[in-house]
């Protein structure tokens, strides 16, 4: 089971992009008892693909999950579902009962756990804390959850979408997955497209597609009266890129040289009607609200950044210094990536800094 998965190149589609097959292998090497924790706490602004899969085809996901538990010999599965999706909870409650009644889950007990409105609990280790009934404070790594995870046991943590693709890869062979891909990249990707396009929504597209191709071929072009100006390639944490850089393949590893991340593949398209300074401020306000408060660089840094960014003129030197401190010293990805939009706006959208947004 692990081999086709490794060969398919399936990666963690929650945003981190860790090779799924390798993760399964690593967890299998650890002593029993092992656990599975499914991340359905889709909180990255602009992302709605997991919701789409849970609403339209929950069985494909449940099957992948049961296969994962069987492969790592886990007797307990925990699904951590965000509280914003009560409709998905109803669907899953019904379908889990049906799956158990059909005798398909004899090897593992399934627990459905409800989040309570905290973005940070989408971070793997914060999710584990939350499943344990605690505050969602991310843990220091190492040890990684594959070694010391939920209740101190080796734990396989996978995103809903990662597990969703397992059945197809097994049924149709790993080539089915690898042969998709464009612009020299391999695999399939689910883009959540929103913003100034004619037809936003969940778009199943080959990995490596560029933002321009995605907008033109999958979203019917830009919305009426809007000219393409820039885009967020990966939600709030993924940074911002100008339209001039819309021909970069969207995949893990391709955007990092530009200081961006594909993350959960949440593409937010922005137009000439949008002020990038206001965009960055919106994102930083979000991080300020959602910082868990555990480590000082992030707790104080996000607050300081919002203060600096609401001033009529941005203190660039101070913002750059803050960016460095936060990305170097924060415990988890939230603080490390929070300043990405600021960095990118300072680099690519200097025109928007001049005028105070209306």
């Amino acid at each position: 089971m692990i081999e086709p998965l490794e060969y398919s190149g399936l990666r963690g589609l929650g945003g981190a992009g860790f090779p799924a097959g390798r993760k399964w292998r690593l967890v299998r090497q650890e002593p029993l008892p092992r656990l599975v924790a499914v991340n359905a706490d889709e909180g990255e602004p602009g992302t709605f693909k997991d919701r789409y899969f849970l609403e339209t085809d929950p069985h494909r996901f449940l099957e992948g999950m049961l296969i994962a538990a069987w492969v790592v010999e886990a007797a307990e599965i925990y699904i951590y579902l965000r509280d914003e999706y009560p409709q998905c909870r109803m669907i899953l409650e019904g379908e889990i009962t049906a799956v158990e009644a059909a005798g398909l889950a004899r090897h593992a007990r399934i627990h459905l756990r409800r989040g309570a409105g905290a973005y940070i609990c989408g971070e793997e280790s914060a999710m584990l804390e939350s499943i344990e009934g605690k505050r969602g404070l991310p843990r220091q790594r190492p040890p990684f959850p594959a070694q010391v995870g939920l209740f101190g046991r080796p734990t396989l943590c996978n995103n809903v979408e990662t597990l969703y693709w397992v059945r197809d890869i097994v049924e149709q062979g790993p080539e089915w997955f690898t042969l998709a891909g464009r612009n020299g990249r391999q695999g399939r990707r689910t883009f959540s497209v929103s913003g100034r396009v004619k037809d936003p929504g969940v778009k199943l597209a080959p990995a490596g597609i560029t933002a321009r191709q995605l907008i033109d071929e999958y979203c019917g072009g830009m919305a009426e009266g809007h000219t393409f100006k820039g885009y967020l390639p990966g939600g709030a944490s993924g940074g911002v890129l100008p339209a001039a850089m819309a021909d970069i393949p969207l995949d893990f590893g391709t955007l990092e040289p530009e200081g961006c991340l594909i993350g959960s593949a949440a593409v937010v398209v922005l137009s000439d009607k949008d002020n990038m300074r206001a965009v960055a401020l919106n994102l930083l306000r979000f991080f300020e609200d959602e910082s868990c408060g555990q480590c000082t660089p992030c707790r104080a840094g996000t607050e300081k950044a919002v203060k600096l960014m609401t001033a009529p003129h941005w203190d660039e030197a101070l913002l750059q210094e803050l960016t460095r401190v936060m990305s170097d010293a924060s415990i988890c990805g939230l603080g490390q990536a929070a300043m990405n939009p600021v960095k990118q706006v300072l680099k690519h959208f200097r025109d928007d800094l001049v005028a105070e947004p209306s």
């Binding site: 602004p45 602009g46 009560p86 309570a116 344990e132 009934g133 505050r135 969602g136 969940v202 919106n282």
Partner: protein, 204 residues
Amino acid sequence: MPPFLHHDRRIHPGSGRRRGPDHPKGRQVDPTALAEVQTLLGDRDRRRDLLIEHLHLLQDHFGCLHARHLAALAEEMRLALVEVYEVASFYAHFDIVMDDEAPPPRITVRVCDSLSCELVGSVQLLADLETRLGDGVRVVRAPCMGGCHHAPVVAIGHALHENASQRAKHTRPPPNLSASTPIVRPAVIACCNPAWWASAHATR
């Protein structure tokens, strides 16, 4: 009055004259609140990892988390009150209400303020909702709810209402749209009727 003020602190504890307090230290558990919590929890496991699930039970049933129920839950789950409080106060979907405070309105409308919704006027939508919805409804801003392709989005209770604005570009605007037309879609207002919510809650 907190219990420690009952005693004269000038008497040295070692003098042998100090009377022991007649009840344990800290917030006392209200027997009524404890009974309510026990009824609600039923035969559910009291394991520590179920704390958030149990808090949801309380929040869903009472519309908020009363301090007296938190103390009772701590007692019932054999946790320190602070362990319950720190978890309850961490998550945005729990509303802690001190015993001398009024509970929040029964209906909470959450208006998404994340980027895709802000692009299509969630700020104006929030202001519009605040003026149009009276007492008995609380309007708050909230982070992304996963309806970015049908922005702007609001949640009434936790039920998602997409395309909540009449002015968003990708929704079909009403035929006679003018400057005085409300931003919020009438169906959203209709779903926030306190009388309807009260009857729905009574029949549950």
